[in-house]
Subunit: 541 residues, 2 copies
Amino acid sequence: MPQLAPHIFELLHQQGVQHSFGIPGDFALTLYDALAESEIEPIVMTHEPCAGFAADAYSRIRGLGLAVVTYGVGGLNMVNSIAGAYAEKSPLVILSGAPGVKERQYHDLLHHKVKTFDTQRRVYEEVTLYSTTLNDPRTADLKIHRALDYAMTFKRPVYLEIPRDLVYAEIEEVEHRPPPIKRTDANTLEEALTEILAMLERAKSPVILVGSEVHRFGLQSQVIALAEKLRVPVCSTILGKSVFPEAHPQYIGIYNGEAGAPYVRNTVEESDCLLMLGVFMTDVNLGMFTAHLNPSCAVYATSERVAIKHHEYPHIRFEDFINTLSNNCNLPHKNSSTIARMKPRVAPSPGKISMSGLLYELNQFIDSNTLLVTDVGDVLFAADDIQTREGSSFLTSGFYASMGFGIPGVIGAQLADPFRRAIALVGDGGFQMTGMELLTVKRLGLKPIIIVINNGAFATLRIMGHQDADFVKIASLDYAQLAFVLGGCGFEVQTGQELREALSLARERDTFSILDVRISADDVSPALQRLSALFAKKLKG
Amino acid sequence: MPQLAPHIFELLHQQGVQHSFGIPGDFALTLYDALAESEIEPIVMTHEPCAGFAADAYSRIRGLGLAVVTYGVGGLNMVNSIAGAYAEKSPLVILSGAPGVKERQYHDLLHHKVKTFDTQRRVYEEVTLYSTTLNDPRTADLKIHRALDYAMTFKRPVYLEIPRDLVYAEIEEVEHRPPPIKRTDANTLEEALTEILAMLERAKSPVILVGSEVHRFGLQSQVIALAEKLRVPVCSTILGKSVFPEAHPQYIGIYNGEAGAPYVRNTVEESDCLLMLGVFMTDVNLGMFTAHLNPSCAVYATSERVAIKHHEYPHIRFEDFINTLSNNCNLPHKNSSTIARMKPRVAPSPGKISMSGLLYELNQFIDSNTLLVTDVGDVLFAADDIQTREGSSFLTSGFYASMGFGIPGVIGAQLADPFRRAIALVGDGGFQMTGMELLTVKRLGLKPIIIVINNGAFATLRIMGHQDADFVKIASLDYAQLAFVLGGCGFEVQTGQELREALSLARERDTFSILDVRISADDVSPALQRLSALFAKKLKG
């Protein structure tokens, strides 16, 4: 009979999980023993919020991530990161050590306990799709398979709590029966397809808008094939950035409502047949609700809903929808030579570097080997004008928008994909939350390039009419000097030329590098400038 | 009519709250406007876990703490710290900004949202005594008073969520009626008192064991008076350390089961009348269940339960119990000159510094002006052999035991009590979690002395049979060098003499200092050595 924790690690390893992220603790000590004996390498982080972010980023590349933490002080310190993975549909397995089944009976006040022994599981119920305590060897296998099925099918985190006296318990194996999931009704799908093909045939200006679910469900190549057959312009949301390769000749840029480039906005909003594939209709994706999308011209498909114009087609699985559409669209629309790419709103900075100048240099530097992770704040809006090359080369917390994602995200991403060079673009606020995790970067011998926007402020709050508020200021720090103390290389950057030089030196370094880019607090990215102007207009009007 | 948020801040200020801890965000921007206009100073931290710890430490000195955060990414990132405050009965008010009532109706996918708009409140329900969203101006005042009453009466955190469109809403004031709380039954109290006085009269070796609730309910002077009338030895638990002044002639030391000093253990365990006042019966307080306390000789009183021997007296409030006992005990037991103080198990280190040598120097340095905060790990066990002077001069996360408490705790403590000099004793693991918060220390001009036990390992996990496990190692870092980058002073300490010198230099510095004390990974505090030996014996036997 298999043993509980070793069995879980074996199943996870079969799913492609080679690393776990977390911190041990006494209630998780035996669990870590089992982990260390497994095929999965435990990455010990400095702080649990970082462990959650790293596992999330890892999942976004590998398709599944793993965090292993201790009870109470460990698990409850990771709630925010897991909430982000839930909100943005990143499948994770969270394993938490816990007091033993026997201890729970005899001792009421064990350390790390809050209200009841069930407190942590109840908290996780709010931020995962499935949460349970594996407290019975007879039901454990069933629960483990259910958790994995849920994570893989719905792309959400699941939580398993393991009492420390059951880590090596022998468990009864059950026949693995996948839970009943939504199945596609063939007639519904055919009817939907017929309607879409008719729409496409009549359409003068069809456009594809790609969202993150295309990536979560591994449907990138099908969407590329679809776009190439239709020969139509393709754009993406912020959260779906780089799901469609940004270097593809049909790619025109990020759609971001009025905050985005007018050319993309017009192309999307004036389209008479907009195929929205795997798009979350969130405020961030819709330019903070400045989008003007006409449902009468739209096809909307996600894992939760397929709709054409104002009517819905239930009983269609997203994967089946995309596959069928991709296989059956054989009507090239117009010659792709007329498709123009959005021009990033950036320009070289001759003197002191600006956000625009920074993005210009970054775009020059990014190549097909780059894996870019951005934190949250102006660095998220800035991504509008960054051009990556290959598909799946951009990661961010683009809807849940949790600051601090950047540095731990780069660790997860770099371990999941060791063949590309990771770059993190982080604000000073985000850096101060989780930057200490560079100690783990150093320990692992990773070599990401960290670009810190050092402007001494929460720029996104400043532009909301709070230029002078003390509470939007961020403590100053010499990030370049800090880099050396943490075991990396530091570069202070004041001009575009210095940034160019620092990037090319950092590329050659055998450690991580921090580029401390001194940006004026009044200077923000083109997208945030645009939002700021809209905000000012709204305040006046 | 008063306005919602300004009204809350006014009530909190009346309770002695002069500082709040947190980070703004767009959903909390208006709330921060109201905060900045109030009498309370907003302290902007670098990371929400730190904001919760700082507010907790502040509360432990001032009697009430305040954290103000944004929705989702802010609130959910502070769950662990608030869970700790709940577990250790530290009263806090958590205010969270949130999407407006109107926004919630029209937009489903606002950023920072997890499952539903109620997710965060539901999570907080698990780690606070009372949680509610102030979404109606007609009921807001009632809920606000209820929250404050609960926090103050039961010494637990409470959570109020404030939709951003109601921050300045005019609210209807209600007549403030305190909720029905446990009232003392006079006959019950008299019967209990009579029984205790009879026990004391017969007793040959009565002892008082003081716990943290004596401090939470502000009953220190009553307990000191009681002890002086009875002339009996007094000791405390780890969590209750320094609630009774450690320099008091009747104080004998920390009771910690078999992990503690044998003299204290014998005094407590052989007592024929043990008065346990405000003691949590937790594993940490009881030397990881190595305590042997005989209920037949014990009086046990907390806010939750009053018991003598094996029977309980319900309907007695803790405050009334302590006051009555203190006022009515007029039977001096024996001459306090026979009371000997526990000798700390420490000695100067002639060569390379040891934990024992470190504690020796620290005890020499501590004076009546010292406010000591320890983190969790061996530094918590080490507190057994540290001697503070005045009452209420020691803070730690002694039951919930969350690493990372030290540095943010020192910020809350120092702001709550600016007249004493704060010292933090932290391990390298705890430092790496929250040490970046020294940027806030610098910004505020605070001058704590941070002593880092730099041993490159989770020492408490190592001693549990895991000396060689890779996953108990901590990344190396030059903490002294880091101090300068963060704006303070750093000292590398290899010997006892160097520690003595560094402490006296740090005392004169006008910034914070980090003392990077290089301890061998095999060397742990006397209390942890003792636990380690017990653990090894258990493994063998």
